[in-house]
Amino acid sequence: MTQTRAITLNALSLYAVALVLAAAFAAQFILHELPCPLCLLQRILFAALAVGPILNIRFGPRPSHYAMSLLAAVAGAVASTRQVLLHIMPGDAGYGSALLGYHYYTWALLGFITAIVLLAAILLFDRQFEEDKAVLPSTGGAFAQIAVWLVIALTAANVVTTLLECGFGACADNPVVYELLKRAA
């Protein structure tokens, strides 16, 4: 795999992260389901997955960049596994609504495990780490640049919505209202 192809795959992975963050927003705004503290932590770790690909696009693919995403994916898998276990007992309805039979934290666990497998798989291709500056675009081209700014914008949007939801105190375990909007009303 050449550096150029690896960078294209990294840009695609950023679009995948953007899709996850956008889907979480869709559940929040369309279904009016506010994310719980563990749900927010999983969102943050999905966003953290994007830092490795951004560095790969900017500085070229390096094993250390993939390792950063691997660590974020493992932390995310731990957080989502805990939430699955919190609701695993028979009779427990789970937190929030289900999508195609699975709750969002179950989908998150599947997403983090998929990320771990894909990151391990892409690390198998050594040629991407060889110096190839003549081929490597400086910032990955428009396709990659749009992906980077999309992920940054969605993460920044989460700063605003989380502040509205939690306010300046601790987030509620089962949030049902936006704390800051409640105070303003």
């Binding site: 927010l40 932590l41 770790l45 989380t162 939690c166 987030c171």
Partner: protein, 52 residues
């Protein structure tokens, strides 16, 4: 509040990774990841209702 700060810190790390210095991005990423683990441990206090 801690989640707002973590989202903000992650966005800043992304911006530094894209526009700033690589060592700074690596260091800040490590700090954010450690903060995430600490936040997780702080919140993961409920006993899991499991029976084996």
């Amino acid at each position: 509040m801690e989640f707002t700060i973590l989202f903000l810190a992650t966005a800043i790390v992304m911006l530094i990774a894209w526009r700033g210095q690589r060592p700074l991005a690596l260091g800040l990423f490590a700090a954010v990841l450690i903060a995430c683990v600490v936040t997780y441990l702080h919140h993961a206090t409920d006993t899991l209702k499991l029976s084996f």
